[in-house]
């Protein structure tokens, strides 16, 4: 009877652990199934908003030694192929000598007359051409033509101009914004945290004042991040205005994030400092070094590994934060990352996509996968640092 009871109790713990593994598995599978199709290398270098080009194309015929043998609609005159994709017309093949490699921009400005980029995956929106009677006509997606009709127009008529769009949905700007966010918030939070941790640990003179300081910092950890967002936009916004920001901005997000990171970083540093051997500290002091010298030369280097782990933990926190940043960075996905403009970090981008007019679920899952990979790499790095440090310690 005892044995059966024991067996059941053990089995229950196996099941409990199994549940957590199951949930992780379901989550990963769900993200993979929905997101993997949207992941491609181009995502990392593309802008989120499509670039618009108005160009002219050389209509003189050329001789092509065409190697195209795909299924899409092939346009003999220009050696390109197009197909229908949802409601767009997408280019799927461009021959080496095609005139489409030498499209000249018609947009007034610095790029007038220059060759514009044209790649597989770009979308042809509209074409202005001269029809058989010499009348100016417009064709393309705008007139609800499909790929066959567009192919026909291109093959048979003299084309005046073409309006096309580059690929979109790229995350390059958001990645840069996330990096700026991480860098600036750590820049602010790290010195303050390390100094505070040193004070709390090394200058700890057990009076009420120090206790109050300690308790305040600990309570900060329990405040939900959305409250930080509210406070950030009222208290810290004037600070960003000094730097020239007129709206919510990446800078405001970074400042708010720095405050959120304080309790985490301070605690991690405190733990790291506490692990430095007291004997080492005493030896240094007895050799005549001042307290500050001891801290700088003995304690800090010894705590470096813990501080590094704390830093990586903070990086994960920055990447994962969304509520506070919704208030302080806004949800507009911009393509020009800068400190004083609105922008989105990767997490915010997911939130913005999901609450947008056309929630692109696949893109949201794809970005989630990317975030997970980054976080996994950070976790492994922390473990490696700890492992290496322990190894060194054992020597």
């Amino acid at each position: 009877m005892r044995k059966i009871k024991d067996y059941i109790l053990n089995a229950i713990t196996y099941i409990a652990s199994g549940i957590s593994v199951l949930i992780l598995g379901v989550l990963l599978v769900y993200l993979l199934v929905n997101g993997v199709k949207s992941i491609n290398l181009k995502m990392f270098s593309d802008d989120y908003w499509a670039k618009n080009y108005l160009v002219e194309v050389d209509s003189d015929s050329r001789n092509f030694d065409s190697k195209y043998n795909g299924d899409d609609y092939y346009i003999k005159k220009y050696d390109i192929a197009i197909k229908d994709d949802d409601k767009e017309i997408v280019v799927t093949y461009i021959g080496e000598n095609s005139q489409f490699n030498e499209l000249k921009s018609l947009t007034v400005g610095d790029s007038l007359g220059m060759i514009t980029p044209f790649d597989v995956g770009y979308k042809i929106e509209s074409i202005e051409y001269l029809d058989s009677n010499g009348v100016i006509s417009i064709g393309g997606v705008l007139l609800k033509h499909n790929a066959i009709e567009v192919a026909q127009i291109l093959n048979e008529n003299h084309v005046n101009s073409i309006y096309y769009q580059s690929t979109s949905g790229g995350i390059k700007a958001s990645i840069i914004n996330t990096l700026i966010l991480i860098f600036v918030s750590l820049l602010i939070a790290t010195p303050i945290s390390i100094c505070s941790a040193i004070y709390l640990n090394e200058y700890n003179s057990k009076n009420k004042f120090n206790q109050l300081l300690s308790v305040s910092i600990e309570t900060l950890a329990g405040v939900p991040s959305i409250i930080y967002g509210l406070v950030g936009i009222t208290v810290l916004f004037p600070v960003t205005q000094l730097f020239g920001a007129t709206t919510t901005s990446v800078l405001l997000g970074a400042l708010t994030m720095a405050v959120i990171l304080l309790p985490t970083m301070i605690k991690a540093t405190q733990v790291a400092l506490a692990q430095v051997d007291q004997g080492l500290k005493d030896a240094s002091l007895s050799l005549g070094a001042t307290k500050v010298q001891t801290i700088n030369k003995v304690v800090l280097p010894g705590a470096m590994n813990g501080i590094l782990s704390g830093l990586l933990l903070c990086v994960s926190k920055v990447i994962g934060e969304s509520a506070a940043l919704v208030y302080t960075m806004g949800t507009f996905i911009s393509d020009t990352p800068s400190l004083t403009n609105q922008g989105t970090s990767l997490s915010l981008m997911i939130y913005s996509i999901m609450s947008n007019d056309n929630p692109n679920f696949e893109l949201a899952c794809a970005i989630s996968l990317i975030i997970l990979v980054i976080v996994l790499v950070l976790n492994i790095s922390v473990k490696l640092i700890n492992y290496k440090f322990n190894k060194l310690g054992q020597r």
């Binding site: 007034v108 509209s126 007129t246 911009s334 007019d357 929630p359």
Partner: protein, 302 residues
Amino acid sequence: MKKILILGLVALLLTGCSSNGSTGNEETKQIVNIYTRDSASGTREAFEKAIDLDVISNTAIEVASNGDMITKVKSDENAIGYVSLSTDLLNTGLKALNIEGVVPSVDTVLNDTYSMKRPFSYVTRAAGDYKSEELQQLVVAYLDYLNNSIEGALVVSAAGGIVDTSGKVAFSTLKGNHSILNQDNSHLTINTAGSTSVASTLQATLEAFSPMAGNFKFTMNQTGSSDGYKRVLGSEKDGVNQADIGFASRDFSDQEDVTSALNSGIYCIDAVVVIVNENSEVNDITLDTLNAIYAGTQTTLK
């Protein structure tokens, strides 16, 4: 102590559960779940005006945008909601209901037989109130393209808006009036605000016009029709979210005095379409039934 708390909660839950919903009997009708937009939405105002609704039932679920409405109604088979006609319903698993026999389409809106329609209106900042003289000229050029050119009308209708193309001319004839188009404008940014329903037509026209106008940049911050007027002429016009052109998916109200604006008007018509799950038996609905459903006095679809 903890155990007592948990037992108490479970008891509450069980009573809560049983008082909610039917008991699986095939003959009991399914209660309809009503979805509406948030209070800043012009689509919501147009819809409530069309069905003559006083106060919406407090069981309604608020969604954030047209797209959010589609997501939510799609996953709830007992749902009823409403979106703009310009939203693409193909492949979403939803269908649009006929209103008193009339099918919502571009034709029925243009010949006035479909009643739930509303204008997409726009209003700009007052003359001289722009960040620069160049920006003001650019806005004027854009609105000329949007309202008077064939190309503009084509882009709007391709994006789902309903335009009357008679009387419009090729943009090449209008170009001459705007010298701003002969220079590089990549240092200028047009900020827009207001209705989310106009987003697809607005984005399409801005994107198409940009290469024709020196590659200006644009930022769309659409948060709801009532923010359109506010951010160009109203209480937020100098604030954090100020805009150059405000849009609303309805007429501007009496409190929204547009006489001081540089330019205001209507650039296309849109209709509000009632959507349900495509497996629903209902295909047609009357305005009175819609009123009853959304006021909460009728709890089933039929």
